[in-house]
């Protein structure tokens, strides 16, 4: 392995305030709730800033502001709404470097990823939906589709700003106003986005940001004056939300967990498959709902593939997220690290074989080395439960039918991967996999024009593309 000199991105570009209020009605508001918590850099455990945990009364203020703004925003010509959203997209591009550093500091993801994947996709998402704002009558939802009203949006910590973009861009384009709650461990880029709304002169109340943990999110979801709930996160919380909106007229979209199969046939280009497997499960430390966390490899090439995969893993660099050479950053929180450890230990105790490359772990911060389990049975917890970390469970199969059977043997259905050079087999597999996204000879690709979302217990509704508009229109 080559030695690399450290090449850290400067953090001077970001200006983090010691403490943040809530963003309500276009301005910073002092929270009524008194609870405040520190958000930490998971790579160093250093406190970055203090944020409020909004209470019920704070959420109510934000919803009221959004309701008031809806009267203005929903009747504004689509072409004018579009221009505000285009402005936001441009400001994100202008401040991309700063936002990427801020994201890596708060989340722990490598700067190469926040700079080259997250931020470009965030800007692209706003650009894409900005263009829809004055074209909704051509979208196939009738001649004059109407917005829903106020959207309550709750997002996770794995792609903080990207998930914000997936939620806010289509909501605004369709004429809704929003109250968004970022995850408690990664609130900083959402708070920076509040500033971007101010810079764009967005009418007050169209976007409101309330920080906090699960209780704040629950208060938002059950608020009687919201018309729409959009949630990305765990299947367990998704279930609670689905239960809590029963009997209401709230429209709901849920993007939940996954346990995707990445299926490699014996005729696949194995070197490319290895890159795809690495990208599938070690991208973003495996903190990806659609991660390819189950490798299904055809028995005849299993040994060859695993040898190549292990060689490749030995070259991955784990460490400082701000270092441009880093491949694997920090685990987002102590709680998540504990969960990954617990499930990995279950893997060992249930009889699977664990392997990690020699990998120095920094002294401070939350880290987990890239890990492979072989000899995994379908009944093992590591084959059934979402680990949400850099842990790959390897299973084998003999026939395409067996691969389909094993891939679909999960309550989830978010994504799947297929590696084969045979086109007809690829399409045969793609048509039988019960998953919302099928990546063939690639993995973990995202684009604002391309609908994303799950089957079964991975949730319902789609984000991205024309399909993503439906979630925010009264249709």
């Amino acid at each position: 392995m080559f030695e690399y000199a450290p090449a850290p991105e400067s953090r001077d570009i970001v200006d983090i305030k010691p403490s943040y209020g809530l963003f309500i009605n276009g301005e910073w508001a002092e929270p009524l709730a008194e609870e405040r918590h520190k958000t930490v850099n998971p790579a160093s455990e250093e406190a970055l800033a203090e944020v409020a945990w909004a209470g019920e009364a704070d959420v109510d203020r934000a919803v009221q502001a959004a309701r008031k703004a809806f009267a203005v925003w929903s009747v504004m010509p689509g072409s004018e709404r579009a221009k505000y959203i285009f402005r936001i997209a441009r400001i994100i591009q202008e401040r991309a470097r700063e936002l990427a550093v801020l994201e890596s500091l708060d989340n722990g993801k490598p700067i190469r990823e926040s700079r080259d994947v997250d931020l470009p996709l965030v800007a692209a998402h706003f650009f894409y939906y900005a263009g829809w704002a004055d074209k909704l009558s051509y979208a196939g939802f009738g001649p004059d589709p109407k917005p829903l009203g106020v959207a309550g949006q709750v997002i996770p910590w794995n792609f903080p700003l990207l998930m914000l973009a997936w939620k806010i861009a289509p909501a605004l384009a369709c004429g809704n106003t929003v109250v968004l709650k970022p995850a408690e461990t990664t609130p900083l880029t959402a708070l920076a986005f509040a500033e971007i709304c101010q810079q764009a002169d967005l009418p007050p109340g169209v976007v409101n940001i309330v920080t906090g943990a699960g209780e704040t999110g629950a208060a938002l979801v059950r608020h009687p004056d919201i018309d729409k709930v959009a949630f990305t996160g765990s299947t367990e919380v998704g279930r609670q939300i689905a239960r809590s909106v029963a009997g209401s007229r709230k429209k709901v979209t849920l993007e939940l967990g996954g346990k995707a199969a990445n299926i490699v046939f014996d005729d696949a280009a194995l070197d490319q498959a290895v890159e795809g497997i690495v990208n599938g499960i070690f991208f973003n430390q495996g903190h990806v709902c659609c991660a390819g966390s189950r490798l299904l490899v055809q028995e005849s090439v299993a040994e060859e593939l695993l040898d190549a995969l292990k060689r490749r893993l030995s070259t991955l660099r784990l460490g400082d997220p701000l270092d441009k050479n880093t491949d694997i950053g920090a685990i987002n929180s102590a709680a998540q690290l504990a969960k990954i450890r617990e499930l990995s230990e279950a893997g060992v105790s249930e009889g699977a074989e664990r392997w990690s490359p020699a990998c120095p772990i920094p002294d401070k911060g939350y880290w987990f080395p890239p890990t492979i389990f072989t000899g995994v049975a379908q009944s093992h917890r590591i084959a059934r439960e979402e680990i949400f970390g850099p842990v790959l469970s390897v299973l084998t199969f003999r026939t395409p039918a067996e691969a389909v059977e094993k891939a679909n043997n999960t309550p989830y259905g978010l994504s799947a991967g297929v590696w084969t050079e045979k086109g007809s087999r690829m399409l045969w597999m793609a048509s039988r996999l019960r998953a919302g996204v099928v990546w063939s000879n690639t993995f973990n690709r995202f684009d604002p024009t391309s609908p994303f979302g799950g089957y079964k217990e991975s949730g319902y509704g789609r984000e991205g593309g024309r399909h993503g508009l439906e979630a925010y229109l009264a249709v």
Partner: protein, 296 residues
């Protein structure tokens, strides 16, 4: 011999129909042996209908699940032809359905004929959607990279359908056809008050080349059967069109357990004669997006 008995001896006695359940293409009685009295809108005895049990509901779900791979894997053209065949068979039994609708709803024969005709026409309308819904619900996505990217609608799976209590034929056809035309299979809870046309419709379905198990029909208490289906872990979606407010909340809460897709009861009274739109089909469709690199 009294006069009445003498008169009875002279008349031919009608052969009545036994109304049973429709599960997996067969017509079993409820395994529980339960039945209930169905009366006309005027309160006259019509028949004893089967009162489905929890075991019947589970059997119906198994039958629907078993039928799903074949039906969802059939060509759209084939599914469209079978739905059209259902319309043909229904048209052939027009007089029988008109009589049953008159009995069930107490409407005039003229009105009943209009409703039966509309049910036939609705089937023809939906039949035509089988190979067109993909064109309006799918998309080729212009992603910013060298990838072929295609989104297509696929059926959600097994759908539980709580049929509307009113509109025993037109309402029923209007909730079944959009679910199955796209490749879903279903378990239908028939109108509790007026279940007889649903079983007669089952006879039509059974003679229309529709594979057994694609449509399963349960008669009995909606308040009993619907929650069993809403809480069943092998049901993927539930249409609550025919559920009252209280039952709808119960079912939606139960449906959360495995994140079923839920079509809530309509906010306003439905005019079944109006253009139904595509919403009842799209409610039970998933979107699958396939990516593949482009290169030499």
């Amino acid at each position: 011999m009294s006069e009445r008995v003498a008169a009875q001896a002279m008349e031919r006695l009608a052969v009545r129909k036994t109304y049973k359940l429709f599960i997996g293409g067969a017509f079993p009685r409820s395994e529980s042996g339960r039945s209930y009295v169905v009366t006309s809108s005027k309160g006259e005895f019509l028949a004893n209908a089967s009162k489905a049990s929890r075991k019947d509901a589970r059997d119906a779900v198994s039958a629907a699940r078993k039928a799903f791979p074949g039906w969802s894997g059939a060509t759209a053209y084939n599914r469209g032809q079978i739905l059209y065949r259902v319309a043909e068979m229904l048209e052939g039994r027009r007089a029988q359905f008109v009589a049953e609708v008159v009995d069930a709803d107490g409407v005039s024969a003229k009105k009943a004929a209009e409703l039966v005709d509309a049910a036939v026409d609705r089937l023809v309308w939906y039949a035509g959607w089988s190979d067109k819904i993909g064109a309006i619900q799918g998309s080729a996505n212009p992603v910013a990279g060298p990838y072929f990217n295609l989104s297509s609608p696929e059926p959600t799976g097994v759908v539980a359908v709580v049929a509307p209590p009113m509109g025993p034929l037109l309402g029923l056809v209007s909730v079944i056809a959009p679910v199955i035309v796209t490749g879903n299979t279903c378990v239908v809870v028939a109108s509790e008050r007026a279940p007889l046309p649903s079983i007669t419709l089952a006879e039509v379905l059974a003679t229309s080349d529709l594979p057994g198990g694609v449509v399963n029909i349960l008669t009995g208490s909606a308040a009993e059967i619907a929650p069993w289906l809403a809480g069943h872990m092998d049901v993927n979606a539930i249409d609550l069109t025919g559920a009252d407010a209280e039952l709808a909340v119960t079912c939606e809460e139960l449906a959360a357990e495995n994140l079923k897709r839920v079509l809530r009861p309509p906010a306003a009274k439905v005019d079944w004669l109006a253009d139904p739109g595509t919403g009842r089909m799209t409610a039970f469709l998933e979107t699958k997006t396939v990516w593949h690199p482009i290169g030499t």
